[in-house]
Amino acid sequence: MKTYEITCIQCPLGCALTVSVDGEAVTVTGNTCPRGAEYGKKEVLHPSRTVTSTVAVENGVLPRLSVKTRTDIPKEKIFDVMQVIRKTTVTAPVRIGDVIIENVCGTGTDVIATKTVDKIQN
């Protein structure tokens, strides 16, 4: 059996949760509400995060384009995804919502633009 000590982020209360995993059985203690139990389970079994960053832009009115993963991705993939994002350069114009990297690191989710960067006018 493995136990994890985590802080619940469902509300400002910030309960200190103890999550025990024993094969298939997961028990959460320390929570004050059902939302805490649910959070504790997911956070231990399938922790995931949305990654946000920027990529370089060529010929744009701005040097950087802000991007995000369209959905949350497994937490352990964060740094792999960042590696790919860091090597990416796009050419303006880019519209908000445009796909910048398809199926990043095989996560099944795309990295998309979160702002519009127009082409520079000469």
Binding site: T7, S66, K75, R86, K115
Partner: protein, 417 residues
């Protein structure tokens, strides 16, 4: 001198939402003045997600949240001037603005909405000892340099202050390959949101050192390290607790200050606690026809509340311009135990809308206590709260029909068991 019905100072989240709301309420002659090169304000550099859960029921990044309001402003064809700074406002609602195309121009406004936002408390206001080497940034400056300009800020970072921007930057710099040594917080609790502590610090094993402060900055040309010390109950460093960290960068996330130089020049009364204008339930300042909303009024933790407040300011400015500007005397809101301030600071009971939203911050962490509203000695409302913290804004709604017994001598908000 040209005239506009409504001039809005600032094109960030507050200014944009106020403009859209005033336009929707029938004000057609609006001008937004924005000093940056684009609309959107601070949201442009807040590339992380977590915005809009209240307003749009989805989790957006800062630029996405800004884009929604910018589109509304463009759709309504509301005029705005970029790279234009308001330099002065007179009590007669004359605004002097400056830009490189027109030079210095004075415009007269029927009504003004102040939406200038806030700025960060700089190093000079913190009294940190040591030389002034390169490598000391406010967290927001570092955020702008990285996210807008694409500059690298540092490789080994220490962060003083656990405000949300500091926590967000701890994660951001870690993702960009920097090493974040630790975050030190003077107070025994964090000033940031819980989820930011979990997702920005715990995720990356960055220590949060509560009740600690920086007691020496080392380095002459560039930061080479810092010394921190534990502080006692009076926030004084305890000798013998010094700890040295090798680093090239120090980020400061030690509080935000509403930016009210213009309000002062207009002769507007400011609240000593919030640093923002004293307003009534219409969000009107002490100078008639001037309204305030967003972080210039008081510092918010969620942009969703800024938008909501700004929409009210826009609607009230429209009401003022249509001639509904009587006031029959105010009842001052007073603060009791545990409540640091209220916004608004006073209510025109006779002419108020059906509801007045009163926002405030508490002075300490309170578990299982209640927010209580009194009219004179009579308890009107009691809201039980599982937890309240200084980092999270609280609110209580005052309903017009709660004044059945006439206009009270005093209205008080306080924390009780």
């Amino acid at each position: 001198m040209t005239y506009h019905d409504l001039v809005i100072i600032g094109g960030g989240p507050a200014g944009l939402a106020a403009a859209v709301s005033a336009h929707g309420a029938g004000v057609k002659d609006i001008l937004i003045l924005e000093r940056d090169e684009r609309l959107g304000g601070i949201l442009n550099q807040c590339i992380h997600n977590g915005f809009g859960l209240h307003t749009f029921k989805e989790e957006l990044t800062g630029p996405e949240y800004a884009e929604r309001y910018i589109e509304k402003v463009l759709d309504a064809k509301i005029p705005y001037k970029l790279k234009t700074i308001a330099a002065d406002i007179s009590p007669e609602r004359e605004i002097l603005y400056v830009n490189s195309k027109e030079g210095a121009v004075t415009v007269k406004a029927g009504a003004i909405i102040l939406a200038m936002g806030c700025r960060e408390r700089p190093r000079g206001a913190l009294g940190l000892p040591g030389y002034r080497p390169a490598g000391i940034f406010t967290a927001g400056t570092a955020q702008r340099l990285m996210n807008i300009d694409g500059q690298s800020v540092g490789k080994k970072v220490f962060i003083l202050g656990s405000g949300d921007i500091g926590l967000i930057m701890a994660r951001r710099m870690t993702l960009e390959g920097a090493q974040v040594c630790a975050v030190a917080e003077l107070m025994p609790y964090s000033g940031g949101l819980n989820r930011n502590i979990v997702q920005c610090l715990n995720d990356f094993n960055i220590p949060l050192k509560l009740s600690h402060t920086v007691t020496q900055i080392h380095g002459k040309e560039r930061v080479t390290g810092i010394t921190i010390s534990e502080v006692d109950a009076n926030r004084q460093p305890i000798p013998g607790t010094e700890e040295y960290f090798d680093c090239d960068t120090l980020l400061l996330s030690c509080g935000l200050l509403p930016e009210n130089e213009l309000s002062k020049s207009a002769g507007i009364t400011l609240d000593r606690v919030t640093g923002g204008p004293v307003v009534d339930d219409r969000l009107q300042c002490s100078v008639p026809g001037v309204f305030a909303c967003g972080n210039v009024l008081h510092v918010h933790d969620l942009v969703d509340y800024v938008s909501e407040e700004a929409e009210r300011a826009g609607a009230q400015a429209a009401r003022y311009l249509s001639g509904e500007n009587t006031s029959d005397g105010y009842v001052k809101l007073s603060t009791g135990f545990g409540v640091r301030y209220t916004v608004p600071q006073m209510i025109d009971v006779k002419n108020m809308s059906d509801e007045a939203v009163v926002r405030f911050r508490v002075a300490d962490i309170y578990r299982g206590k209640s927010i209580v509203l009194y009219y004179g000695d009579k308890q009107i409302k009691k809201l039980k709260k599982r937890i309240m913290a200084p980092g999270e804004m609280e609110q209580i709604v005052i309903r017009k029909d709660s004044f059945d017994g006439g206009i009270p001598d005093s209205i008080k908000v306080c924390v009780e068991d």
